[in-house]
Symmetry: C4
Subunit: 381 residues, 4 copies
């Protein structure tokens, strides 16, 4: 399915979630008969949702709340909670920054060093609540802090960067050897972003339990304008799901979980991610809209405060309900921001599927969003 | 005509009405020689128009008015007219709700139980006027109320849901067996929505007289954002029309009517629906713009007040003329909202066709709306 | 190059001028060496431009002015100039109408009967100035008025409707037999719109000297929304140009001129029309922007005041210069609205062509307008 | 990869930078290990950036500054610096012109004759600073001024026009014979714009050291609206890079540099230009945003003040930082306008490449910008 963009250079057409839609099929099913459970390694979850390790989304408190609601909150160990003993005032300052000063001030705020003891303390707080504990480091910081993290007691270890490859080359530092690292670690590892079949296959071969699919494609990211890099999510998830199938055969049965990470703003996007083959989704903006979220209506990622090349923005996402309402409803709005799992359940029921794994096979069509005639009528409102 | 959205997952390109256009052919015809009549079962209509069972469109009074104008008004038996003895004040309240409270208040208003005696009363009122009587229930409510409805005396029984399948699976309730139900009922049944060849074929095999084509794609729907499901109408109607042809052969001659339902905002859309193979169209927003419409310039569907997962909005559609002007003209506006049937007649004449059935064969082109150079000039106005 | 829009219905992809662009080739040429002359029948023109028979564009005075500038003004014989002895006040009233009353009042104004003596008088006025005389009737009025027109002395007779076919069928009236009519007429006839290969071939066989290509696709038209009919101009012109080539062979050498009519808002569009195979262009909005134009900054076509189904709008186009500046420059604006022929000349030179006929072979690419990165930067202005 | 736009006329699909994106691959690399050096003829540069010969971008002072930052400033010898002894007041006047008078006044300002002695003086000023000296003439003026230029002492001679062909035909003047001219000149020549394989091949055969790829596609250009000509940059660069490869073989080893020129507004665009095969980029708007730029927040090209057919606009681009920050960072904004080379370096590192030449092979996908779901969320901000 390649096209020629000019003489001698070919390119695939890649699809975003907005380019596709699920279509109903022959059968329908009662939404109450649908299961949305997901399990990775020894851990089971009622809902296939991970909260993204971003300061506007996951604090120790929301990690606990999300765990109790059946999902998994992943704490960012390079964010405000491990740089500041009392980050609340810093969070408040970030929310109140005028647009023109936001990037520069966030660069200063995040220049504060990470403290190992705060890592220990935050993880302990989550663990004490009895929920599954997950925390994230970037590949650059993994060697420095992983033993602190493991000692503090995480159930799932997340290594997350814009792009993480199994083969990082550096003439300056000794790079993290992912394969050795994962082999020696007792804790299961989820690693990414990866956006292609090949990159994901190599990550799967390191022994990772799960792969994050994405490349800075979230609501708060400007990767496309700054780096010229873009991995439309529908194609990326489909490709990595195929890598999972091929690796399953190659490895003689190791099932590596595919977790869509980025650009999942509405329940419709979550439905499409799973329809493309994801086992679970990692949500940022969608959960930053919760009344309990530390961002309090604002959302930003680590790339927003990169010291030399910020590649994201602090965006206003608003507040639409409690974490419980956002995940499990009921909804009093109809824009796909509330009752995300209710919508997933209903979408599965309407198309006749009863569990996540089956639903990965649902039929989709290519139907770009802008071609919808209803837009014309709405705009007249 | 499939494309690969990634490794191992293929998808068809699906088309909305805005993606296509009818093209003139060799011959032209006098508009006065064109027939727009349509008949289903024993019932004949001057115009191939059904008014959608939505509270903003069909009251007993507008059902009668539309019948007298040559079409068919379908009363929603799960709306305000069967929940409230005097729904006028509730209609007025809905129109006046501020945006931020609209969904929540509508959820409360529609929590009022349906009364069997009001079903009987409303149907009797329409019947007394001497027009063809049609009324709609959802599949969920059909078993509870159908005998009331039949006793009240409907000519056409409509079973309408977002998606209705011939094979609904539930571990909780005994599901409606459509095939047995229709077989035992004396009244012809129109059923839908269905959006694919396969789903429609199965509905045709239940014995339905007509199939509604659509999946919540109307002006007031947010199905795509909430459920990730979308069935672009041009492709859906073409597919179901092909199911009609194949079933006609399979059944040895049973012609099941294909009724496009949703996303038909202008006369141009109606033209395209028939060009794609529809025998008739079910209109919502287009008729909600009538001065007599109960919505009084506002429009909403049942999915706008779903208790847990609302999937639609109350939208402002304005008022553009009387039902008579909207259907049969004359028009004093040029935006495709008035004189719908005059426009259909002229479009058929301009392309040389003389009846609806023939016009289903007219040539169309793929020509997305946004590619139109006139937009540039208009925006300068 | 057909696609399947659903099971059993195929459609061609059709292209608008905005979907394509001319590309430079190996050679360049001095703009002063380029010829833009055009001739049809015995008549020669410096520039391949006809002014559209619309009241906002052509009055007897502007027909004369355009003739003197090297083009051909076509007077609408069913407009204000043949309905009113002194149309100036009516023109002024139309310009000043508030939007909401415009269509209705224009319907009334154009209800005034056409006067044969005014036809005679207007044509005489143009003839007296010594320029080539052209005037237009619709097919519906041709039989009633053609002898008046011919007696008044036109050089070129234009029969122009939204769609004109060689085979009009009517049970009500005796339809105009175009072939007999043209055969018996001494004056060469230009006829259209036609938008397809087949329709144009049939018009060519009637003996027409030229065919207008289009279907109400101009700046002031809402044909697509009202009728669902749309003929994207690039594809239409390419198709009709192919009909010209095939008919040239079939007829043993009769060259029928292809005149693009509609949607030609900028000099870039004119360039593309000729690149697609047009011999000349008929301009509406582009000339309505002249300070001498009767519309005085407003533009509308006959379909804007149709008594029952108006299919156009009175649009504000503004004023950008004199007719001379618009056609031959110099320009003091850079948006393609001024120095139309200078731009055509430069475009031909830049791509190495020296006359209109040759330039019909220039290479084009498909490159939709919205995909242009410069839009991003401009919008920041 | 051609499509049929109608019967008998085929066209290639051409791609803009916004239509494509780079995708990450298997390997990643440390950004500090990446080299962005570029050399042409005997001249070496730390960064593959030429500043476009436009009055809003390059003055003698900014040419020097850009040279010191590792790039190459190209002075326009037909701009204000060679028409006016003290152009500062004229620059200030242009910046302050109201929109409606801008084109006309710029036409007057640029009617001032070019002075040979100012050419000599400006070049001497740059040379005195010790940076590589480059200056540009149009093909029309090259014969008149080249000896002045060569005597003044340029290192690289740039011949730049909207389209420059190796085969210019004129019945009026003797055209510049590029091949002879370049053969006899001691100084290496960079020439363009060219936008196709064929045009570029012919330019390469003249002996040019580099070819500028583009056709007036920059931020300040309206070529598409005025001339109907458009060469989407991704396809143009890919095509010309293929011409470079074929000519390398044909010539037995002469490597002609491909320099993307136009439409490079962000660091993402620069990344894509190189991914398509460019050796270097010529920047206009991107550098006009510098605090030192002579345009002081405004940007325009030579085509904006063409005497008869202006084909560009003076656009407001704003100011985002110093030349140093724009080229080498650090950035305190995340929109791709600052730290252009830092972004290029990171993009190369993220996809595993270590130099410009290798990076030309990076994988790209077709993924139109508007299909991005994040837009929906952003617009809610």
């Amino acid at each position: 399915m390649e096209t020629e963009i000019g003489r001698g250079k070919r390119a695939r057409r890649a699809y975003a979630f907005d380019d596709i839609a699920v279509v109903p099929s022959r059968r329908t099913r009662d939404p109450r008969d649908v299961s949305t459970t997901w399990s990775i390694d020894a851990y089971q979850f009622d809902i296939p949702v991970l909260a993204a390790p971003m300061d506007s989304v996951v604090s120790p408190a929301t990690a606990i709340a999300i765990g109790r609601l059946g999902g998994l909150g992943v704490l960012n160990l390079e964010g405000l909670w491990t740089r500041y003993a009392e980050p609340e005032s810093v969070l408040a300052e970030i929310r109140d920054l005028p647009h023109e000063r936001a990037v520069r001030r966030m660069q200063e705020i995040y220049a504060e060093p990470i403290k190992a003891e705060l890592i220990t303390e935050r993880i302990a707080e989550i663990r004490a609540a009895g929920v599954t504990v997950a925390a994230a480091l970037s590949p650059q910081r993994t060697q420095e802090f992983y033993s602190t993290v493991v000692k503090a007691g995480v159930d799932l270890f997340v290594i997350r960067g814009t792009t993480v490859s199994a083969e990082h080359v550096s003439a300056q530092d000794e790079a993290l050897n992912l394969k050795e690292f994962i082999y020696e670690l007792d804790v299961p590892v989820i690693v990414g972003g990866a956006a292609t079949y090949r990159a994901a296959t190599h990550l799967m071969r390191t022994g990772a339990a799960g792969v994050l699919v994405g490349f800075g494609g979230g609501a708060a990211s400007t990767t496309r304008a700054t780096l010229g890099i873009h991995a439309p999510m529908a194609t990326a998830v489909v490709d990595v799901a195929e890598a999972r199938r091929d690796y399953l055969d190659e490895s003689g049965g190791r099932y590596v979980h595919v977790i869509a990470d980025g650009g999942l703003g509405t329940s419709g996007d979550i439905v499409k991610a799973i329809a493309c083959g994801a086992d679970a989704v990692m949500l940022g903006a969608a959960l930053a809209r919760a009344t309990e979220a530390p961002g309090a209506g604002w959302h930003w990622g680590g790339e927003a405060h990169h010291a030399e090349l910020p590649r994201g923005e602090r965006v206003r996402v608003g507040q639409v309900g409690t974490l419980e309402a956002i995940l499990n409803g009921p909804a009093h709005a109809s824009d796909g921001t509330v009752n995300l799992i209710g919508a997933l359940r209903r979408s599965m029921a309407t198309t006749g599927y009863s569990d996540i794994k089956e639903f990965q096979k649902v039929e989709v069509v290519v139907a770009p969003y802008s071609g919808d005639s209803t837009a014309v009528i709405r705009s007249a409102e």
